[in-house]
């Protein structure tokens, strides 16, 4: 007889045999104490060490669904999430789960770069400090350096770590925020339109960074740019009016979508 652990383990592969990091089952989201049904029963297996993008017109629910994964919707009054979301088989909505610890495991990068009004060093060191990830000043310095290196910004800031994070350019600030997310040693990184406030050059640098980061992390990105989804992700989900219309390999979604609604959206018929 299989143990519960075995069953959990056996369900951690998707249909293509890849490791599944985040498993979502029948997820619903209601706003305004049930007045609005924003997400309607979504099932999805999100792959480990891959980039998954969510696309769809404004108001389709893609950001709402993203925010379910790290329980950001908990902070919204009147918002209710039902169903099951698990990371490595562990229920994210388990009442005994420490949400602060959960958010250490799930980093998040927002649309507008939001560095703390502190030094570059302190921006990165903040997470490791509050989560007790460093036992000494040297260890903390090492985490800061390696995070900035992995985010591809080390060479630009190494001589001015004491300067304010808010004094960097938009693209640098966003990479600083990615470095800050990495510093807490997360397993999943959520990105909510991370390049929409950046110019094309900075966007290209961040996209290259995302490509490098996927070797280590499960990355989920919400984007309004279909070209960006096509460039950076391996899997793409198309959302419409709270439903997941189609979820598949990015190449298939953009060259040969199965659903007419997907075809209509990617060819600009609505959205």
């Amino acid at each position: 007889m299989s143990s519960i652990a075995d069953i959990a383990k056996s369900s951690q592969l998707d249909v293509d045999g890849h490791d599944v990091k985040v498993e979502c089952r029948d997820v619903h989201v209601y706003y305004g104490n049930g007045a609005a049904h924003a997400i309607k029963g979504i099932d999805m297996n999100i792959r480990e060490k891959a980039v998954t993008s969510f696309i769809g017109p404004s108001g389709c629910g893609k950001s709402t669904f993203l925010r379910c994964i790290n329980r950001m919707n908990d902070t919204i009054d009147g918002c209710e999430v039902t169903g099951n979301i698990s990371i490595d088989g562990e229920n994210v909505y388990d009442k005994t789960l420490d949400v602060v610890q959960l958010r250490r495991r799930i980093g998040m990068v927002f649309q507008k770069p939001n560095p703390f009004p502190k030094s570059i060093f302190d921006n990165i060191a903040y997470g490791p400090r509050i989560h007790g990830l460093a036992n000494s000043k040297d260890e903390l310095t090492e985490i800061v350096e390696s995070s900035l290196k992995r985010a591809g910004i080390w060479n630009e800031v190494k001589d001015r770590l004491d300067a304010s994070g808010t004094g960097l350019s938009g693209g640098q600030q966003q990479r600083l925020c990615i470095a800050r997310a990495i510093a807490a040693d997360p397993e999943v990184i959520l990105m909510d339109e991370p390049c929409s406030a950046l110019d094309p050059i900075a966007t290209g640098i961040v996209e290259e960074l995302i490509e490098e980061l996927r070797e280590k992390y499960c990355i989920i990105i919400v984007t309004h740019s279909m070209q960006q989804a096509a460039r950076v992700s391996q899997k793409t989900g198309f959302f419409h009016l709270g439903d997941l219309i189609e979820f598949g390999d990015t190449e298939q979604i953009f060259t040969n979508p199965v659903e007419q609604k997907t075809q209509d959206y990617i060819s600009g018929r609505y959205g």
């Binding site: 060259t255 990617i266 600009g268």
Partner: protein, 243 residues
């Protein structure tokens, strides 16, 4: 010269560009069909003026191919079509190359017909006419398929390539027999061999266009290991094509 239209229109992304590309392809197809039709008339009866017309009109086909190339690049750069639209843009670009080749082969056939001239009476004209008609019919069917999606008919065009190969084998054998019987006809016979090979190659390009249409429709490519019936590469004797 680029036919980029529709930037800023209220049509969905790329639709106006696609309509423009379809229109250019339709015009190119019309020119190529006319060229091949005139070639057929010249095979049936020696007509140097018509042959000359095929040769001089080919530049229009070349110009249309260039316009399709420029319009395709503009559409990809400015509209970034996706899904079926992307497949159609790529399919049109590939088909334009095939149409341009059909135009070139028709032009070369017309040149050879001018060279053969009245000597055509000494050659197996009915078999050549039959091969031409069959190829021209397939081009017309494929032209209709560009306007109306019909996967079953696409498969029919692909199967018809076998019949074209068989007809070519037959003409090839008959021309060999003519040249064996009368060595004075070797020079025109060789011209006729190249001419009929052109027709067989036109059939291959028609098949390519049908494959492009299948890709646009289904988003998938057909198996490439279709059986080939052209045996002329192995023929040393005019009777071998019947074996």
């Amino acid at each position: 010269m680029a036919d980029v239209v529709g930037v800023g229109t209220d049509l969905p992304i790329g639709e106006s560009n696609l309509a423009n590309l379809r229109s250019l392809t339709g015009r190119m197809l019309g020119h190529v069909e006319e060229q091949l039709h005139l070639v057929g008339m010249c095979i049936e009866r020696d007509d140097p003026d018509l042959s000359q017309q095929v040769i001089t009109s080919d530049f229009q086909v070349d110009q249309l191919e260039e316009r399709i190339l420029l319009s395709t690049v503009s559409t990809l750069a400015l509209r970034q079509p996706l899904g079926r639209n992307l497949r159609e843009v790529v399919g049109i670009l590939r088909s334009a190359t095939d149409l341009e080749r059909i135009g070139d082969l028709s032009k070369n056939t017309a040149k050879r017909l001018l060279t053969i001239g009245p000597m055509m009476d000494q050659l197996p004209r009915p078999a050549m006419v039959q091969l031409h008609h069959y190829v021209a019919d397939q081009l017309q069917i494929v032209g209709d398929l560009m306007a109306v999606e019909d996967p079953e008919t696409i498969q029919g065009v692909l199967r018809a390539d076998d019949r074209i190969d068989e007809l070519h084998n037959s003409v090839f054998g008959e021309l060999m027999a003519v040249m064996k019987n009368d060595q004075a006809l070797i020079a025109v016979g060789i011209q006729a061999l190249f001419m009929t090979k052109n027709l067989e190659r036109i059939g291959d390009h028609v098949t390519n266009i049908a494959e492009n249409l299948y890709y646009i429709h289904a988003g998938d490519v057909l198996p490439t290991d279709r059986p080939k019936s052209d045996v002329t590469s192995f023929m040393l004797d005019e009777k071998e094509h019947t074996s």
